[in-house]
């Protein structure tokens, strides 16, 4: 019964909303113009990266905070548990992964560098690196994580810390995250690189912390 009702409601909602979309005039404001107009001072030539790290860089700052928070939350939720003992996969797989890993690292570096002028950037780069780490774990070449030690914690927090520091350091410019046009490119690259490292660790951690032996129920 409940099932039917919920589904019906959802369907009606979808129809009404969809219907309302069909006859919609164009928006009063078009941000494409200012985005393009200010690309010069943004320090990057790719509009999405410009929005992501400059115009709306503050969103990204908080977004990284959310990601770090998620890792922290998982640590808090899972508590102390033993790391999984990696189960060695088929040697062929292991060799493949051994070969793939350096390539993935190269790809990551390229993505990071490319982010400035075409799709790419810290998040994509970090994701690729994290994928590499996950692969290494899955084929049994690297263990899962315990509660991270100091070094690892530093690495996890570094990206966010750098971002935060830059944001604060720019306050005397008159506003949070207000890059001076000439230095914008360099600063963004700095942040991006630090983020790549930390994002890679965090994303990998999300997986490697979860893939642990469960304590018996």
């Amino acid at each position: 019964m409940k099932r039917m009702v919920v589904i019906a409601v959802a369907a009606v909602f979808a129809m009404v909303l969809g219907g309302a979309m069909l006859d919609l005039p164009l928006g009063a404001i078009d941000l494409r113009i200012p985005v393009a107009a200010n690309l010069g001072e943004s320090g990057v030539s790719h509009p999405v990266t410009a929005v992501l790290l400059n115009y709306r860089g503050y969103d990204t700052l908080l977004e990284i905070a959310v990601l770090l928070l998620a890792l922290l939350a998982i640590l808090a939720v899972l508590g102390e548990t033993r790391a999984a003992t990696p189960r060695a996969a088929h040697p062929v797989l292991q060799t493949l992964v051994r070969l793939a890993t350096p390539l993935m690292i190269v790809v990551a570096v390229y993505l990071l560098w490319a982010g400035a002028f075409r799709p790419g950037g810290a998040f994509q780069a970090g994701a690729v690196l994290a994928a590499a780490a996950v692969l290494l774990h899955l084929v049994g070449l690297s263990p899962g994580w315990n509660t991270p030690r100091l070094k690892l914690r530093m690495g996890l927090a570094a990206g966010f810390a750098v971002f935060l520091a830059v944001a604060a350091a720019l306050l005397p410019q008159g506003a949070l995250l207000r890059y001076p046009p000439e230095a914008a490119g360099a600063l963004i690259l700095l942040i991006e690189s630090a983020l790549t490292l930390s994002l890679a660790l965090i994303l990998a951690g999300l997986f490697l912390l979860l893939s642990r032996d469960e304590e018996a129920p």
């Binding site: 409940k2 099932r3 919920v6 589904i7 409601v9 959802a10 369907a11 909602f13 979808a14 909303l17 969809g18 979309m21 069909l22 919609l24 164009l26 928006g27 941000l31 494409r32 985005v35 509009p47 999405v48 410009a50 929005v51 992501l52 115009y55 709306r56 969103d59 990204t60 977004e63 990284i64 959310v66 990601l67 928070l69 998620a70 890792l71 939350a73 998982i74 939720v77 899972l78 998040f123 994303l203 999300l206 912390l209 979860l210 469960e214 304590e215 129920p217």
Partner: protein, 100 residues
Amino acid sequence: MTGGLLFALTGVVLFAMGVAGVVLIGHLLRRILAFNLMGSGAFLVLVGLAQRNDVPDPVPQAMVLTGIVVAVAATALALALARKLHALTGHLELPEDADE
């Protein structure tokens, strides 16, 4: 009917399905997937509706990138909780709230 609008309409359908799923599904993993469906729906609407005249708009795209990361974080936490619950109770369903 432009491409952008099509995306937006699909997004609406996905969102509706996602919500229904979160409300109805008991199994935690599927429930978490339903939530992701819902999120993707919202993202599609955000991008699609903004470019319903098929001229790409970088702002919503950047927003969606942010949104995706947030969704990833939320999903990871949800999975961790589900896993913990499974470790404690051996089930992947929410127990009845023991109210008194």
